[in-house]
């Protein structure tokens, strides 16, 4: 007994059958990917769709998935963020050219302050590009260090720290400015 909780998880690279490789990857990483997906999206359904699309990408090309749990995780996380980035860009383009799609207001006068604060900060996260958002949530909510995030995303720790700094700055600005906007809306 080695006491390792992941001892039953088979490294994907050791499985010849692509469907088995995929099943093993799903079992090993679905929880972690769902948590990240939920923190990168506005609602639970979008998060589930994001996880599904990530594994579908893996299903299309299982040979691309690296061997080993760490490599698998990093590969899947990057795929997930890339998919989210594509979705985010399409939304941004649509909103830019279709003002009716823009959220009308970030807060409602009928909501409690605490709810307003939570809604506001999460809406502010929506304004961050997905990679920057991923860096922020990995650090702030998952507790990962910049070097760990850098390793996971395949970028330098300096870049991670830059994203963190810019992300915090953007969030602070976005969290404080909507109050004025909502007053103007009303």
């Amino acid at each position: 007994m080695n006491g390792l909780p992941l001892a039953s998880v088979r490294p994907i690279g050791l499985l010849d059958d692509p469907s088995e490789r995929l099943a093993a990857a799903f079992d090993a990483h679905q929880e972690r990917l769902f948590r990240l997906a939920r923190r990168l999206t506005s609602n639970r359904d979008d998060a589930l769709d994001l996880v599904q699309e990530t594994f579908l990408r893996a299903a299309r090309n299982p040979a691309s998935i690296p061997v080993g749990l760490m490599g698998e995780e990093a590969w899947l996380v990057r795929v997930l963020i890339n998919i989210r980035r594509d979705q985010w860009r399409r939304t941004v383009v649509r909103e830019r050219h279709d003002p009716e799609m823009k959220p009308s207001s970030w807060s409602s006068g009928h909501q409690e302050d605490a709810v307003i604060a939570r809604t506001t900060v999460w809406r502010a996260l929506d304004a961050l590009a997905p990679r920057r958002r991923a860096v922020v949530v990995m650090h702030e909510l998952e507790g990962l260090t910049p070097p760990a995030i850098a390793s996971l995303l395949g970028i330098s720790a300096v870049t991670v720290r830059w994203h963190l700094s810019m992300g915090r700055r953007d969030l602070t600005r976005l969290v404080t400015s909507p109050k004025r906007e909502s007053h103007e809306d009303r």
Binding site: N82, R118, W122, V175
Partner: protein, 206 residues
């Protein structure tokens, strides 16, 4: 006064909502299994997404068959036509000033910027290089100083988004930029040596 970190932790939906349930897992497993089955033997199609896992620093992928078929004249082994080569920035969605075009071999549209970043005149050298598997060949493009500068400026803020490769006005491939392109780019595909030579030579005919 709460910090942004405090607000984020309070707003974190993962702490407020139930985790992934068995019904969710079943739904995902079914969808993935179905998708995995369809993937077996499926014909290749262009799909927007993480093409960024290609190993090269800046990689332009050409549709080998698309280009090859344009250059390879049946029964005309000695025919060598000039190839009009262009690279343009592109987007996944529509926008002002963007032109929607259909990608060769795909029903997915892509939206081209009007400006041509580089064309034949910006290619200083195009040569055939062996691919890793020794059975196929790639084309290495070396841009002129002006071409490299144009590529660098155009692609610096475009990482993660598509760049379209046009041959004689037709988009044959629109890979995603993994990093800004500078002096050179590698054109990869399942080219035979003679196909790669014809493409390289065709780009060189200005």
């Amino acid at each position: 006064m709460k910090t942004v970190s405090d607000l984020l932790r309070e707003a974190d939906p993962v702490r407020q909502e139930p985790s992934l349930g068995e019904a969710d897992r079943d739904r995902l497993r079914r969808a993935i299994r179905a998708g995995g089955s369809r993937a077996t033997g499926r014909s290749s199609r262009w799909a927007p997404g993480p093409v960024a896992f290609v190993a090269a620093v800046a990689l332009i992928l050409f549709g080998a068959l698309a280009i090859g078929s344009r250059l390879w004249s049946p029964g005309g082994a000695t025919l060598q036509a000039a190839v009009r080569f262009e690279a343009r920035l592109a987007e996944d969605g529509p926008g002002a000033g963007l032109r929607e075009v259909q990608l060769s071999g795909s029903r997915t549209p892509i939206y081209l910027h009007q400006e041509v970043i580089v064309s034949n005149e910006d290619v200083a050298q195009s040569r055939v290089v062996a691919a890793d598997d020794a059975a196929h060949f790639n084309i290495a493009l070396q841009f002129t100083t002006a071409g490299a500068e144009k590529m660098r400026q155009a692609t610096a803020d475009h990482v993660g988004r598509p760049i379209a490769v046009l041959i004689d006005g037709e988009v044959v491939m629109a890979p995603r930029l993994r990093s800004p392109i500078g002096e050179s780019a590698l054109v990869t595909g399942d080219f035979t040596r003679s196909q790669a030579e014809r493409i390289a030579n065709g780009i060189g005919l200005k």
